[in-house]
């Protein structure tokens, strides 16, 4: 496998997929085609944003995950819990009861991801100041956005801030903490509870960093169910629950404007993958003016709406706002041990260079690409231009692209077929065969 290849956490469950094409129509990078009645995701184009997962009526878009069984491979079992997980629970369930249920499920240590924000924010402010000539600096927080820029806005790759996200900082901290307690690195298992697929993909092949620092990723919807089971089946008898709550800033970090509010200068926060994409178009054209810091999140309401979060995003935001307000009022400033590792973590906070992986080019060679582009223009002019999707591609434009790249044929278009039949160049049977190659046998099944 190409070591630079994207790892993907989303895949199509071919048993469940009905080839209904809902996913194909919502993919922001046009990565999906229907072939033989099944959705196929192009790994080069997919950014793991999860739009397809949300749109699928058949639950056929699956998300890979690690099993809790994997905990048994380690002597120290650490759960990295993001604040949006705590935000799934209303006041009916105390934070202590959630922690305690996680202990019952096998974790020795529960560490809230956003405790790492304390270290990150200091470095981030420094970074933004030192690189203030680069406009805009773009947050690397959301891995789906980072991948979107890599594939669709290659000119902006160098604007991405090369600092690790809070979960990586917290993981580095937890591992070092236990190494200092006398454990070896491979005895320590760090499991991140993820709100989305993009963060799984990033954990398995982090962008701009060659080593993974998480040992496993547990999906939030799964662990949510397990936690509530424990609570409802009489609760946990786990006695010592040590809650180290992140700061007010940390609690709101993963929400929209969670990062942006703390940065000086002209700061904009955009959420939702379509809006992010549209905004980046403007930025690439030099149309948005000089922006100092751009906070971009693939989901509307940011991580509160991650595809693996079971709760309603607005209620999650409300819960977290309440928790942050409470934390803000509290006079006791609890300085966690992470502070004693500040220097150690700061030295390890930067990522390697982030590579562009453009998907738009029609050929590596410029002359060849110009040739193909001319063909594409011709093909496109012959298509009906209604983006109906009946060819198994999301738009006439994407079919034209498939045709010039020899990944599709013009006869996939039913309008073209009617014309061909009328002009005697194709038989009805041939047309039926082409349609079945795209959609499978759908009528009279």
């Amino acid at each position: 496998m190409d070591p630079h290849a994207f790892h993907h956490a989303l895949y199509v469950d071919t048993e469940l997929c009905t080839g209904c094409s809902h996913c194909m129509r919502v993919c922001p990078t046009e990565a999906i085609r229907v072939r033989n009645g099944i959705a196929c995701i192009d790994p080069e184009k997919c950014i793991d944003c999860g739009n397809c997962y949300r749109a699928c009526p058949a639950n056929a878009i699956a998300v890979e995950q690690d099993d809790l069984e994997k905990l048994n491979n380690y002597s120290v079992k650490i759960a990295l819990v993001p604040s949006v997980f705590i935000g799934q629970f209303t006041e009916e369930h105390s934070i202590e009861s959630v922690y305690s249920a996680l202990h019952t499920l096998g974790f020795d240590t529960i560490f809230e991801v956003e405790n790492g924000v304390e270290v990150l924010l200091e470095k981030l402010k420094q970074y933004v100041w030192q690189n203030r000539k680069t406009k805009p600096l773009i947050s690397s927080y959301c891995p789906a956005v980072v991948r979107l820029i890599q594939v669709k806005y290659p000119a902006l790759v160098e604007n991405i801030i090369r600092l690790k996200p809070p979960q990586d900082i917290s993981a580095t901290y937890c591992r070092q903490l236990y190494i200092d307690k006398g454990f070896t690195a491979d005895q320590i298992g760090i499991f991140y509870i993820t709100p989305c697929a993009a963060k799984i993909a990033a954990a398995k092949s982090p962008v701009g960093d060659s080593s993974t620092i998480l040992d496993g990723v547990i999906n939030m919807d799964y662990i949510y169910n397990r936690v509530l089971q424990v609570i409802h089946q009489g609760g946990s008898d786990y006695q010592e629950v040590d809650v180290v709550s992140p700061s007010e800033k940390g609690i709101r970090w993963s929400l929209t404007r969670g990062e942006g509010t703390h940065i000086d200068g002209r700061v904009l926060a955009v959420d939702g993958i379509r809006d992010v994409s549209n905004f980046l178009e403007k930025v690439e054209l030099g149309h948005a003016g000089a922006i100092d810091f751009l906070e971009l999140r693939a989901c509307k309401e940011s991580c509160a709406a991650g595809i693996l979060t079971p709760g309603n995003p607005f209620l999650t935001v409300e819960n977290l706002d309440k928790r942050a307000a409470k934390k803000g009022k509290s006079c006791t400033v609890y300085r966690d041990q992470i502070d004693t590792y500040r220097e150690f973590l700061s030295e390890r906070i930067e990522t390697d260079e982030i590579q562009a992986r453009p998907i738009a080019q029609l050929d590596q060679n410029v002359s060849e690409a110009i040739e193909r582009l001319q063909q594409l223009k011709c093909v496109l002019e012959s298509l009906p231009g209604i983006d109906c999707g009946a060819c198994g591609a999301p738009s006439c434009h994407s079919l034209a692209e498939d045709v010039v790249l020899n990944q599709g044929e013009l006869s996939q278009c039913p309008f073209m077929n009617i014309k061909s039949i009328k002009e005697g160049r194709m038989s009805i049977n041939d047309a039926e065969e082409v349609t079945e190659r795209v959609w499978g046998k759908r009528i009279g099944r």
């Binding site: 562009a356 453009p358 110009i370 582009l373």
Partner: protein, 137 residues
């Protein structure tokens, strides 16, 4: 390969649509992303100039494997002093245009900064012809 676009004077809402389309075309050609960005930034400035000052304009883009040539011809008032228009911060834009966030007087210098070759000629009360080139590799 040649591409043509029309610009309507005064249509600020649509300013940038040609550069946006040209950007999509250039992205197809496996060019250096920086070259693409420079080219579209220059074209966007030129488009806004036509929208802000002229009555109508025509863009023609010519791409071959060695260079991108873009020509923008407009029908409009023309530029009285090209030397002054090339100065950073100089602008003849009306207050109305400035209020819309355009007309900061950075247009021509910004185009020059983002292109390898640029030439401009103008006839008062007839129009302006701007042409620039960016070399591929």
């Amino acid at each position: 390969m040649k591409l043509d676009y029309e610009i309507k004077g005064g249509d600020f809402a649509s300013a940038g649509s040609a550069s946006s389309q040209v950007k999509k075309v250039l992205a197809r050609l496996n060019l250096d992303p920086k070259l693409v960005r420079k080219t579209v930034v220059a074209l966007y400035e030129a488009e806004v100039n036509v929208v802000a000052h002229a009555w109508s304009g025509q863009i023609s883009v010519d791409i071959d494997p060695s260079r991108i040539i873009i020509s923008i011809k407009d029908k409009g008032p023309g530029i009285a002093s090209i030397d002054r228009a090339m100065e950073k911060g100089y602008s003849t834009a009306s207050q109305k245009v400035r209020d819309m966030g355009f007309g900061a007087g950075m247009g021509l210098p910004n185009i020059k900064n983002n292109t390898d070759k640029m030439s401009i000629s103008s006839v008062i009360e007839e129009g302006t012809h701007l042409q620039f080139e960016n070399y591929i590799r």
